[in-house]
Symmetry: D2
Amino acid sequence: MIVVMQYTATEDNIKKVIERLESEGFSTHLSQGVSRTIIGAIGDRTLIPGLAIEAMAGVEKVVPILHPYKLVSREFQEENSTIQLDKLVIGGKDIHVIAGPCAVESREQIIETAQAVKAAGATMLRGGAFKPRTSPYSFQGLQEEGLRLLAEAREETCLPVVTECMDVESLSIVSEFADIVQVGARNMQNFNLLKKLGTIEKPVILKRGMSSTIEEWLLAAEYIMASGNPRIILCERGIRTFENYTRNTLDLSAVPAAKNLSHLPVIVDPSHGTGRWQLVAPMSRAAVAAGADGLLIEVHLNPSEALSDGPQSLTLENFTSLIGELAVIAPVLNRQLAAACRD
Amino acid sequence: MIVVMQYTATEDNIKKVIERLESEGFSTHLSQGVSRTIIGAIGDRTLIPGLAIEAMAGVEKVVPILHPYKLVSREFQEENSTIQLDKLVIGGKDIHVIAGPCAVESREQIIETAQAVKAAGATMLRGGAFKPRTSPYSFQGLQEEGLRLLAEAREETCLPVVTECMDVESLSIVSEFADIVQVGARNMQNFNLLKKLGTIEKPVILKRGMSSTIEEWLLAAEYIMASGNPRIILCERGIRTFENYTRNTLDLSAVPAAKNLSHLPVIVDPSHGTGRWQLVAPMSRAAVAAGADGLLIEVHLNPSEALSDGPQSLTLENFTSLIGELAVIAPVLNRQLAAACRD
Amino acid sequence: MIVVMQYTATEDNIKKVIERLESEGFSTHLSQGVSRTIIGAIGDRTLIPGLAIEAMAGVEKVVPILHPYKLVSREFQEENSTIQLDKLVIGGKDIHVIAGPCAVESREQIIETAQAVKAAGATMLRGGAFKPRTSPYSFQGLQEEGLRLLAEAREETCLPVVTECMDVESLSIVSEFADIVQVGARNMQNFNLLKKLGTIEKPVILKRGMSSTIEEWLLAAEYIMASGNPRIILCERGIRTFENYTRNTLDLSAVPAAKNLSHLPVIVDPSHGTGRWQLVAPMSRAAVAAGADGLLIEVHLNPSEALSDGPQSLTLENFTSLIGELAVIAPVLNRQLAAACRD
Amino acid sequence: MIVVMQYTATEDNIKKVIERLESEGFSTHLSQGVSRTIIGAIGDRTLIPGLAIEAMAGVEKVVPILHPYKLVSREFQEENSTIQLDKLVIGGKDIHVIAGPCAVESREQIIETAQAVKAAGATMLRGGAFKPRTSPYSFQGLQEEGLRLLAEAREETCLPVVTECMDVESLSIVSEFADIVQVGARNMQNFNLLKKLGTIEKPVILKRGMSSTIEEWLLAAEYIMASGNPRIILCERGIRTFENYTRNTLDLSAVPAAKNLSHLPVIVDPSHGTGRWQLVAPMSRAAVAAGADGLLIEVHLNPSEALSDGPQSLTLENFTSLIGELAVIAPVLNRQLAAACRD
């Protein structure tokens, strides 16, 4: 950490900062330039957010040198993390396409969709049972019944099931039924939920918050890992910007960026990332070309009848054609589309 | 709702949209211009998010006409809501200053601070017991012990206590000790928490999410109100933008905007809104001048020793001087600073 | 255009809005619902921005139905525009890679770079002669001398030259030397420059402003086209968001979005879009996979000696390897990398 | 400047960075910690943007210590700059209200408006002759005729005239007629225009770009001042964010922030900052309460007939009532509303 003093800082200001740092166990180094005095401090990075050095008299700013996260950093572990789920491996050579409807609507819908996306090339099934909705008047999901239907669809197809957990209360039931537990963008900084996710045996898909920096996203992953669960998959799903033609702005540069900074796998959700089905195929291809380890795609057998997110759902036909394109792009990065489980 | 068809839409596309709308109970009106066909639809606004009209063939866009919220809207209730708390009234002629430390750190700290801010003119005490922190390595608050210390401070000063609830699990204990329960920016769309807040007897301060539009903020309030609790105070606390000199960009225009759209009281948190104590006094004055019903200000008796948010905390001296300035601005808007409770 | 009246609007308010619209040549249609009165207006879309209907008593909002641009819209011309430049065609089956240094620094540098990028597969040469720089103390470019050196490099390699014009004053000299004139992000709404660009014989690359919506970008293109020059290439180069790990957030969804809305070719600048060379190759691959018609890439033979933008410049080695990857992705979209000119 | 090396940096990487810095005239200081090596460098700050240290092998990031601007900084000049214009002083104790229509529309309009706003308390007249418009089909201003009408209005009222200059070409004619030349948000980084503004004898109002940081805004002012003109007034006019209820998000915290960092006066434009006349009065009061040195307000005698920006223009009645409120707030900051010139 570097502490930059104001040009008006007094000797006494400087002395007090040094004393404070040393009392917290930091070793310090003073560098007095013509226009600024700078204090370098070396010590436990996890203490830094708790100090309030910026609030001390004469301090202009504090510049951290190390990343504030540790366990999830590429520095801590150089090789890529891979996450095993039965015979599937996420984060290795295989690219996974996770597909399914925004929300589970009925037994027939989820089972037919599961069979169809599997046939088209998906390796996992997504489907929302608990739905976070902006309006209290929108469909809130089938809840526990939705979880049971997902499990039935898994029975029928052998596809592992990805579904969202919205809070600590429902975590035990969700993680009982799900193969991978998803944390939605609005919950990326639900810190109690993150801590609890550290205690479960299932992998976690951690969506980036819609106004979260990459650093905050990695800190959220650090919460889970520090609590005991290292099986984390990051998911870019679009950030909020001034552009309103798209629902969000899908930040694909976050894929190579997060992979530079961290050893965790990174997947992309182009459905929420764009909010328009016409943009889902181009952005899916782009995600794979940018190095994503997988995709999370909303597919609906009849989008205009969907109870939620119809406008951003692919038809089966469009989904199938997309899979064909991805299969050609993957080898450019020395990757391949994963093969689905066999019953 | 207005449905705008693509210029390439066929007669059949148009017919299907109309059928869909009518089957959902909307009455429709067709208007065929030279370059576009437009379908007007009148019916239950709360059904609209559940339709996926945009996903139907030939549809260009759907334009809602009514606001998606209802109970919290100025249209539903023309006069300002006022919230009574013992003898205090929020949202009326009185302006309230809620002050205290970011986090409760010790008995001595919270009681001394409570006495000091009361003497300076605050009418309520704020203090965090459960703290949402970006890093897992930061101080997470004294938790239940913090709540007890807040209650002690109330005993000593008669100041009502405002403190944050981070999840459904701790809501019963928080609402047992707090006089007003605060929902943090990161929880503005924690929908299960919002629903539960609708069932408690205490008023709720609902902070605006850092990337939430005013419309989404009012929809979050609608969740609480639709669940049974009408005693809601909106709190602007800064939104996330590209500017990084400040921690957030305090959107003061949201104060008159929210008051135009809704009957609920609106207060402002200039401490989180700016992240720099030097900007807290100017922005507090500005908030009152813009029509805010109150302020939520971090005050620390020794900011550079604070366990969190020191850099944005006012000293008691600066806080006292600010109160004097606010007392002169309030009458410009035909308001006055509220008087504190008497023991 | 749809005019939504406030729920409190009087009959007289409504009457005046209708009179105003009809006096401007619009035909109107009144629709009185239970909670809102709506006035539909059909007429010349180019008049709408000049009306101030929102300022009239009783008006809640005005909703435009048609896009505000016309000549550049897909609706006006259904098939893709292609731009011919000697034997090169932009916007057709060929994908073009335009490469070169941020700034022209010396004869040797620009000629060597031109030869190298041509050998690697670039079909055009980029290089800045007039440089917009945030700080007055930064290198401002070789100016006219830079243009002459670019022309020499073209002589040596036959590569057409792309360079930026910063203002109306230098347009005649820039368009004398350049084969394609580039408009920088900061000038996207320099309306006088846009009008003048409508009068030149050279194609124009129009970069998206860093806080411009896709609609504003297309309106800027409309300025050029309405002034007489239809040879416009749109260029996505990143927008400004809260994320600060990257210099900008490259909005790749703008590629398929702009191509849906407009018939113009769209290229991508991943160098400015990310500001980090490590992200340039992944985002270049992604851009092609998303459907871009070309790329604008900064290549420097020795990035750490570059007078500007070194951190985002590719080395020749990385550039060469990228071209190989792009050649495999292009056929997925039924495209191919363009072949360079022959001397 | 601090150079942070990657944890994988080699001794040779470090050596080369030091050599590069020293060859550019910097003196360096090496600090080798356990996890990172850090190189401090002291020298001419204006050289830093020209170095490409981040592009050197083994470099993680470069952290500037000093602000990149100099002449405009509070550090360079501790006391506030004041700008004299005849008998008016901007940046001193007086607060100035600059009012008038968005665009000059006719002789009658501008003269009547000038007389009315003067009577209400304005000390200067604003009015656009050259208008930057997003659409090529919108009213582009009366141009030179508009300047002459502004001069006539000044004759009639003695009010100094503020009007926008859109490019280098029209600068001589604009600065002939205007008393203060305004630079619009879209031109904040029109660097050639900034340099030319450094050579005129008139004060300049420099609006903040809609996606410009405070640092970039001050660098734009530095361009003007380094070119010879120290009479610069900063103007906050709203930044672009995700919120779309308002036209822009007026960043009032930029007022005290810019005044902390710089000695220049800062005024606020609440009309463009909000885009809604209902928000103009609250945000004007807030701006003065936050410490602004003046306001730039659109007033139209008949907003619904305005050729541009009607929805954000105040009526004379609302403007007059606002002035009364400002007169009460100003003394809280030990300021007063300026008195207008006398004929």
